[in-house]
Symmetry: C2
DNA sequence: GAGTACATGTAAAACGTTACATGATTGC
DNA sequence: GCAATCATGTAACGTTTTACATGTACTC
């Protein structure tokens, strides 16, 4: 029953919001979950099949002309139950963290200071872009204005990521300062 | 030349700090880099071999009795060069983010509020543990007090992660508040 | 005419962890 | 006596992405 496979639950979760095709699921994840989750088609289509095999979802095929037929998936009661059980289970596995930026920075004593500063500036730029994306998402989410509880949980997850990037942007500024300062640390001691 | 493989550079980076065996590299990564990187033996040993094949490192075997022989790896000039080039290259790939906690929270409108609050409290607990681990690391890093530049970069990377968890802990408190409040949203409007 | 959106699906490749095998020594 | 530390290495397994195949319709 592969309780480990998180993609499974991600798919069930999206289906909870309403029936959808694999294609639509991909889009939903990209739009609303991209700041903390992603799935490729290589995961989505085979897993949707398995969902049906295990009675967690049903399919209806909508015949189309010109385009491939649409396979519209809906969550079943059993699917809802399995998802709910998972949602309430405490998280045990803390999967590997990998941050390429920090890996580089950690070993950066061997490159010129200017280069390190440049890397940090680029990282800050990237974080600014992400924070702007979040701001747009927030507006979109508020505009959609569905059920109040749904909005609450979307808002909470968005705030989590937003706060994280904001913190990182502040860190970038600090970091640039500290690196600049270390260029000429003697001056301050001389005065 | 597999420029994609980040493990490669992680190994080179650790070897930059001094010659080491695969076993010691694992320990170093676990102690100092664990908050942003990890490597398993299944990655370390085969990649160390490849490092030697590509002249980025050399091995010396130290014969031991009772234990397996030690293979001590040292970085070569070419290794240093390859590492430095990578350090200065801008980061292009932003690998998949996967946050199981947020995935659960996003879909939590379908479980009782109390359960969601419990999940957030557990997440906060985890973050507190991590922040304490960071505080210890900071002390250890200061105590080692090697070269000043080395200390600077370690301190910077640590602060990055530290600030991130601190932000998340604050978010947890906020989040718990907001969830508690949504239990009885009517009261406030009634008054 | 090129590119994008719609729509599904698979095979190959890369990536990464876990578990196993081996085996002495030291501390509880 | 059991667990942990030291030390290396591989095979199996699972996960995940990428690239490919297919094909219409619409927009620039």
């Amino acid at each position: 029953m592969s309780r480990e496979n998180k993609s499974f639950y991600a798919l069930l979760g999206v289906l909870l919001l309403g029936p959808a095709t694999g294609y639509e699921i991909k889009q939903t994840i990209e739009k609303w979950l991209s700041h903390f989750w992603c799935e490729s088609y290589g995961q989505i289509y085979p897993n949707l099949k398995r969902l049906v095999e295990e009675n967690l979802a049903t399919v209806k095929t909508e015949v189309q002309v010109g385009k491939p037929n649409k396979n519209i998936y809906s969550i079943t009661d059993r699917g809802r139950q399995v998802l709910t059980e998972w949602l309430m289970k405490p998280i045990v596995s803390h999967p590997p963290v990998k941050n390429e930026f920090l890996l580089k920075l950690f070993f950066s004593q061997s490159i010129p200071l200017e280069e390190s500063i440049e890397q940090v500036k680029q990282h800050k730029q990237k974080m600014l872009e992400i924070s702007m994306f979040f701001e747009h998402l927030k507006i979109d989410a508020a505009a959609q204005c569905q059920e109040e509880t749904e909005t609450l949980y979307r808002s909470l997850t968005l705030d989590y990521s937003y706060r994280a990037v904001k913190g990182i942007i502040e860190w970038c500024d600090d970091c640039i300062h500290r690196l600049e300062k270390s260029k000429s640390p003697v001056k301050e001691e001389v005065r």
